[in-house]
């Protein structure tokens, strides 16, 4: 009964979604009779998809094996958390989560958006319904999560062990909130193009939604990176895997959008460009969804390979992106040019930020799609990996960081280079000092890492510089947000540079009792014993790590064997110290009885994710600051 109720809720939601589109369409054209139902319908629709999603979770938690999806991905011996999270650890469930978030975001707009002009809001909700309809169709016709199975099998097939981790409960929902949250920005742009209402009021209305999605996207990517780092046991935190790029591309576009929408809100500039970015940002989300969910790539993220799904998603992608771009092309001529500004001004800095972010986005997009296009066109298989992305995107990212340091120190409208030079000088001097010091201390350091460390130091100082001589108690919250977010980038960059240049790696075959030195630690292989968990058994090494005269730490990396489905994984054991992480992996036993151990000392690697968290916190401060100020003062002042 539960599965049928879920399916019925979905069909009902789809019908309401169609109603929302039609009603909004008529209302925007001035036939206002249906205008009053648009908001309630949006809310009812969201309630129905949320209900369907809740019912699917219930089916998974109860391991109802009469549902095909539960049979495929669930197992009664799994701990509760993984039965719960397995709901979205598969294709159909994750697409249901996609639609649920899409409709809930639409309902949130219907309930809470008060600043936007009414017609534009109705057009926005129409846009949201138009997106919704396609994905309902995808869910109902090509990815039904509630399909029954007969005869009912005695036991489920279990979840991919790589996914059996607390990360599964956190990373996909956060990432999806960001990914799909960008649909609101897209719909806002559609709404604005339909009613030709683009200006500071529109920008101020759109900004909190973009910020919200961007915060979740940042958190999701940061969490995903850390998850891959400890789960895969390869010691890396970013692999330029197409699936990672699929999350990075919307983030780059959303970051650009976040900055251009500020220009629009504050100075009424970059009107058309902001709309374009809003379209691009969610288009990148859809490209990502296509890459990850069509089965065109195979990774832990791609679940079932079904060519029909790929074509369906590709068709949706073309319809929405093509439709939005066509609307943009038809209407952009009627969008008035915004206010102008000087080549040396805050606006110009933000334009440079946007150009560089877009260029990096282009590079990532090319590198991600190129192998697919080449294979489709010529049948030649090739892979594009870190060497390409580091070489092409790295230098641009460093230039971007330099501009980021100067940007907040620029005045709006018009500034002069001389006073700017004075404001930037301390940061520039610090960067040079750090560069020289690091080069002297580590002459062999790679040029990108050296520049990364120097720029990180400069950026850190420059990010807090806007607070100089300000009354900190009276500094607005959104300004703190910017400071903290920019500081987060500096922290993250420093972590990346330290990790890539100062990591010590040891790959050894050790006898029990043997001691190996890695970085500041000496590690003794104390024992290797069998152990077991709820649905796995493992060989577990006991490593005793000691740093100088300090206490002895115990690390227990495992080589696990899961029996449902049968898979072998390696569980890393990581010790976090204040200045880095000790990362250990247990390998195979060599013929002479020695054990393979892979050991890393990674100085300051944790800064990478700490920085990501700071960026998200900065975003949250800015969001709260904006909402709070909007509530108190409807007419917002300049930053």
């Amino acid at each position: 009964m539960i599965a049928e109720a879920g399916l019925a809720a979905l069909w009902l939601g789809a019908a309401l979604c169609a109603l929302q589109l039609i009603a909004a369409g008529f209302a925007v054209r001035g036939q206002g009779d249906l205008a009053a139902i648009v908001r309630p319908v949006a809310v009812a629709q969201a309630a129905l998809t949320a209900l369907a999603f809740g019912l699917l979770i219930l089916l998974f938690v109860r391991v109802d094996l009469s549902v095909a999806l539960v049979f495929e991905n669930d197992h009664s011996e799994k701990p509760f958390l993984y039965r719960f999270a397995a709901t979205w650890g598969n294709h159909e469930g994750s697409m249901l989560m996609w639609v649920a978030i899409l409709t809930v975001a639409g309902a949130a707009v219907a309930l809470f958006e008060r600043k936007l002009e009414e017609r534009t809001l109705l057009a926005t909700l129409g846009g949201q319904a138009a997106i919704g309809l396609g994905f309902y169709a995808f869910l109902l016709f090509a990815s039904n999560p509630f399909a029954r199975l007969f005869p009912v099998p005695p036991e489920g097939r279990g979840l991919n062990p790589l996914l059996q981790d607390p990360g599964l409960a956190f990373h996909p929902p956060t990432l999806y909130l960001g990914y799909v949250g960008l649909s609101v920005a897209f719909s806002f742009a559609i709404g604005a193009l339909v009613t030709r209402d683009v200006g500071p009021v529109f920008a101020r209305a759109m900004r909190p939604w973009v910020l919200g999605a961007w915060i979740f996207l940042t958190l999701g990517i940061t969490a995903g990176s850390y998850w891959a780092y400890y789960e895969l046991g390869w010691g890396g935190w970013w692999f330029w895997d197409p699936v990672e790029n699929a999350s990075l591309m919307p983030w780059l576009a959303a970051t650009a959008l976040l900055h251009s929408v500020t220009v629009l809100a504050t100075r009424d500039g970059l009107r058309a460009w902001t709309l374009m970015l809003a379209v691009i940002a969610f288009s990148m989300s859809m490209v990502g969804t296509f890459l990850v969910r069509s089965g065109i790539l195979t990774s832990v993220h791609a679940f079932a390979v079904d060519p029909r799904r790929g074509s369906f998603l590709l068709a949706l992608l073309f319809i929405y992106v093509g439709g939005a771009l066509a609307l943009f092309g038809a209407r952009v001529g009627t969008v008035r040019a915004g206010a102008r500004f000087d080549p040396v001004s805050r606006e110009a800095g933000l334009v440079a930020n946007n150009l560089l972010l877009s260029a990096i986005l282009g590079i990532v997009l090319v590198g991600t799609l190129y192998p697919l296009l080449v294979e489709a066109a010529t049948g030649t298989k090739l892979s594009v990996g870190p060497p390409y992305f580091d070489a092409a995107a790295g230098p641009l990212a460093l230039i971007l960081v330099a501009i980021m340091a100067a940007g907040p120190l620029l005045r709006w409208r018009r500034d002069n280079l001389k006073p700017l030079g004075r404001r930037v000088a301390p940061a520039a001097i610090l960067a040079v000092v750090v560069m020289v010091a690091v080069k002297l201390a580590a002459p062999a350091i790679h040029i990108l890492s050296l520049l990364g460390l120097a720029l990180a130091a400069g950026l850190a100082l420059a990010s807090v510089a806007p607070l100089w001589k300000r009354n900190l108690m009276r500094t607005p919250l959104f300004m703190w947000g910017m400071v903290v977010a920019h500081l987060g980038i500096a922290v993250s960059l420093a972590g990346m540079a330290c990790d890539s240049s100062f990591t010590v790696e040891k790959l050894v075959a050790a006898r029990v009792g043997e001691t190996v030195a890695v970085g500041p630690y000496s590690i003794t292989l104390d024992a290797v014993d069998p152990t077991f968990g709820a649905n796995w058994q493992a060989l577990q090494a006991t490593l005793l790590a000691r740093r100088g005269d300090g206490d002895t730490l115990t690390l227990t990396p495992q080589a696990r064997t899961y029996w449902a489905p049968p898979t072998e994984t390696s569980e890393t054991a990581i010790h976090t110290a204040i200045d880095g992480q000790l990362y250990t992996v247990l390998g195979k036993q060599a013929a002479d009885g020695r054990w393979q151990l892979r050991l890393w000392w990674k100085p300051f690697v944790t800064l990478i994710w700490a920085g990501g968290a700071l960026v998200a916190i900065g975003g949250a401060l800015a969001l709260v600051g904006r909402l709070w100020r909007a509530r108190r003062k409807p007419a917002e002042q300049w930053i």
Binding site: T298, V351, A391, L396, Q596
Partner: protein
């Protein structure tokens, strides 16, 4: 500057940035893309030493040797048409074994040995990289 000119300038800047990014991307792609080869392709195409290559095929039975350091292995990848000697230092995936499919990323050294940096093997039948699936399919058909 008039607003219209400013718009034009911005548009031109954007186009210039896109072209620059595209040129940067294409030149990097030319140098860095790793092509997928089977041992037969390697014998035919004379792959340059040092070029990034993805090698796929079957681990030849009886070819796996462990070097005394305990962490380096050598083996031969074959597609029955030709074979390539491979050296790898590291922890091999759980399901890496003789007679089954493998995909290795790395480069050829000047002596014609393939030095693998990473090795992918069949994880389990539901989560198989497409290259491995392709290689497995080939090796399965070769066995018959």
């Amino acid at each position: 500057m008039k607003p219209k000119n400013q718009r034009l300038t911005l548009a031109l800047l954007a186009v210039a940035a896109i072209i620059a990014a595209a040129l940067l991307a294409l030149s990097a792609l030319k140098d860095q893309a790793a092509y997928f080869y089977t041992p037969g392709d390697v014998a035919r195409d004379h792959v340059q030493p040092g070029a990034a290559v993805r090698l796929g095929g079957m681990v030849e039975k009886g070819s796996l040797e462990r070097l005394p350091d305990g962490v380096t292995i050598t083996f031969v990848v074959t597609d029955n048409a030709a074979s390539v000697p491979v050296r790898f230092k590291g922890i091999v995936p759980a399901l890496f074994r003789e007679g089954s499919g493998v995909v290795a990323d790395g480069k050829f050294d000047s002596a014609g040995q393939f030095v693998a940096e990473t090795i992918l093997a069949k994880h389990d039948e539901r989560y198989m990289p497409p290259e491995v699936a392709g290689a497995m399919h080939k090796t399965e058909s070769l066995k018959k």
